[in-house]
């Protein structure tokens, strides 16, 4: 199925969760946050948040800045 990650179309297996996506993208353990339809999903809920076709996610990570 197709989902959107940071406005880019991404392929994901049907029935996968946010945690599965994080593994697929090899996200670091620290300094990352994920929002589904502009709502932040706490890391503790990644494992039971199922993704559906067309879902839109924002994933951010730490960057240098003042």
């Amino acid at each position: 199925m197709k989902i959107s990650v940071n406005n880019k179309e991404t392929e994901l297996i049907e029935g996968n969760t946010v945690a599965d996506l994080a593994r697929q993208l090899e996200l670091p353990v620290q300094g990352v946050a994920i929002a589904l339809h502009n709502r932040m999903i706490p890391r503790a809920e990644w494992g039971n948040t199922l993704l559906k076709p067309g879902d839109s996610l924002v994933i951010i990570k730490a960057a240098c800045g003042g």
Binding site: V5, N6, K8, T10, L25, E26, L27, P28, Q30, G31, V32, A33, A35, N38, M40, P42, R43, V58, I59, I60, K61, A62, A63, C64, G65, G66
Partner: protein
């Protein structure tokens, strides 16, 4: 010297560092450690898929350092609240440098949205340190809204122009019941020392250190300037007279004749 306390947390250093514009993460880490800072800002960006770049976070995470995520890139209070929630999740801290500057040319903070966001974020349990205009009235309003500090600008971000807002900073410091952190525009250790002599609680410095010929040495120079300025403030500066006449510091009695 008195310890700086923000939201009940004690800081041994009154110098805060930004992490932008360094040539490398290794240089940034050296400057952070050399500065003695205990508060370091960090920004957020959208990940690029398949981007395996070096993790900057490992260079700034140290047991003595409080991470201060910023909301750079947001244009409204609503976006700031979303960014704050993402930051709290990503960095495991409810401390936040709130910055809302919709205009990329001057990067000047939007006072209306900053006040609105501060009110909402305080209710959501964040420790809010708002970057703001050097506006004494606004700073009082931010304090009333529950801001942990106010962080008025000395000059526009990255300009190194020093205390262009000097007179307003003096009023803000005189009126404030929360620590006043002078943020943005500090370009030389002498600027930081002057802000501290005026009674600022701390200075936030980034560009002046990051783009210096030797950032590590410049970090030390700022550390010493902030300490000197604070020490002078606590010691009580002599009054500057408006007279052009000298005031002798040696006896004026006849000596040679």
């Amino acid at each position: 010297m008195k310890k700086l306390i923000i939201a009940g947390k004690e800081f041994g250093s009154r110098l805060f560092l930004g992490t932008g514009k360094f040539n490398s993460n290794e240089m940034m880490e050296k400057a952070i450690l050399a500065s003695g800072t205990e508060m370091v800002t960090v920004a957020m960006k959208r990940i690029e898929l398949n981007d395996k770049e070096d993790d900057m976070l490992k260079h700034i995470v140290h047991p003595h350092i409080q991470l201060l995520p910023n909301t750079s890139g947001v244009r409204t209070a609503e976006e700031a609240v979303f960014a704050a929630q993402m930051a709290r999740e990503a960095f495991g801290t409810n401390w936040l440098k709130l910055e809302i500057h919709p205009d990329p040319r001057y990067l000047l903070p939007d006072s209306t949205e900053t006040l609105k966001a501060t009110e909402e974020l305080v209710k959501l349990g964040f420790v809010v340190l708002p970057y703001c205009q050097a506006d004494p009235t606004l700073c009082k309003r931010l304090e009333e809204a529950g801001a942990a500090t106010v962080m008025p600008l000395a000059a526009p971000i990255g300009t190194n122009k020093g205390l262009q807002t000097r007179d307003f900073l003096r009023i803000i410091i005189e009126q404030s019941n929360v620590p006043v952190v002078v943020d943005a525009g500090i370009g030389a250790p002498s600027h930081a020392a002057e802000a501290m002599e005026m009674g600022a609680a701390a200075c936030l410095v980034n560009t002046a250190i990051a783009v210096a010929g030797n950032p590590e040495e410049m970090a030390v120079a700022f550390k010493e300037a902030v300490i000197a300025g604070r020490r002078a403030y606590e010691a009580g500066l002599g009054i500057q007279t408006t007279s052009f006449e000298a005031s002798a510091s040696s006896p004026l009695t006849a000596f040679l004749n």
